[in-house]
């Protein structure tokens, strides 16, 4: 039950894009048509669902103050949290590289359609942001961390697909010249974000 409420909250209330503006770079660059947006959204969700529990386990059994207690008594005062940033990004980058190689080997057609986005995911702020928020919120168990990753990913996917759909229709609108392209995309994002703010305060 707690997990479901967490998923719904992270999709709507704490939406990665509209509440925290994480993953904006690829959000703006790849939201030109719905199909590629969907592909990238799925890839981001997948990477979030895998790396978040991995980083959760690392955080709680290696990095946190006293987390190394299972190694023996002399390790109980050890605090490695200074390295959390390094470890998190290393896990994410190497996992993305791994996924890239596996997909390249087993499904060349999927690789061809996702190819360019995969390396982009390693530097997608939403992924590292997910891990850092996980560290800040101190989830009770690994299941909740996974649920959080899944919800954030779906929220990101929803946002980028919605944006792409609007931009496809925007082709036919008459936008002031200096605002064409980037400017109008920013304004739409802002309006969508204000819309999403109406979810704030919903408690499930």
């Amino acid at each position: 039950m707690e997990a479901i409420s967490l998923i719904v909250r992270s999709i709507f209330v704490d939406n990665m894009i509209f509440a925290y503006f994480l993953g904006m770079c690829s959000f703006l660059a790849v939201s030109k048509n719905v199909k590629t947006a969907l592909g990238l959204g799925i890839a981001v969700t997948f990477v979030l669902v895998i790396t978040l529990p991995l980083n959760y386990l690392l955080e709680n059994y290696v990095l946190k103050a006293g987390a190394l207690a299972w190694l023996g008594d002399e390790y109980t005062t050890m605090d490695l949290s200074v390295f959390s940033l390094l470890i998190f990004i290393a896990v994410i980058a190497s996992f993305v590289q791994l996924v890239e190689m596996i997909i390249e080997r087993f499904s060349p057609s999927l690789y061809a359609s996702l190819g360019i986005f995969l390396p982009l995911i390693a530097v997608n702020c939403a992924i590292l942001g997910g891990s850092l928020f996980m560290q800040q919120r101190e989830f009770a168990n690994v299941g909740l961390a996974t649920a959080y990753g899944f919800g954030s990913g779906i929220g990101w996917l929803l946002a980028i697909v919605g944006m792409a759909a609007i931009r496809e229709k925007l082709e036919y609108s008459n936008v002031p010249k200096p605002l064409k392209g980037l400017g109008i995309t920013f304004i739409i994002t802002a309006l969508m974000a204000i819309g999403f703010m109406s979810f704030a305060g919903i408690d499930i």
């Binding site: 925290y20 770079c25 940033l85 390094l86 590292l128 850092l132 609108s173 802002a190 974000a193």
Partner: protein
Amino acid sequence: MALLSSKTKAVLLGPLNKNNPVIVQVLGICSALAVTSKLEPSLVMAIAVVLVTAFANVIISLLRKSIPNRIRIIVQLVVVAALVTIVSEVLKAFAYDVNKQLSVFVGLIVTNCILMGRLEAFALGNGPWPSFLDGIGNGLGYGWILVVVGFFRELLGSGTLMDIQVVPEAFYNAGYENNGLMMLAPMAILLVACIIWVHRSRNKELQEETN
């Protein structure tokens, strides 16, 4: 030899205007907008990004001949993450309050696309000194956007600058109200859109053809 030849000058000053990382190259918006509700965290963030970009550029530029191509992204991320860890520890020690306000966004400098973009596009192909200038230039180009957005959001949203009251009391007595909307995150993005509007009206060659 002059300290700055005309080429290195272009490398340093280009990103401030025609080649701005935020409003022209669309990089690094991720970690930027959430920290700009006040002027002070915007300034701190801007300084942090200038330092990290400059030194990451120098380090990668020195290593550029020895990094294997296939794992270069991981190497770059590790260098950047190490630098950001240093910045974050310094902030914790000397500016704890600001560090609290910036929360996870200091860590998110690691995935700031400006860094990866500059490392890939510039530092891998140029020597340490131009790379250093390129890092400073891009960091400043990013920084001035942050500071402008932070300035307007704090001035209109809470009537203060750097936590000092600037809107006189008489205004409030006459019925002036702070615009609470400016404190909300979406307004940051709307302000950036306004900056883009002004910037592209002045630089017509940057305007795009399609939506």
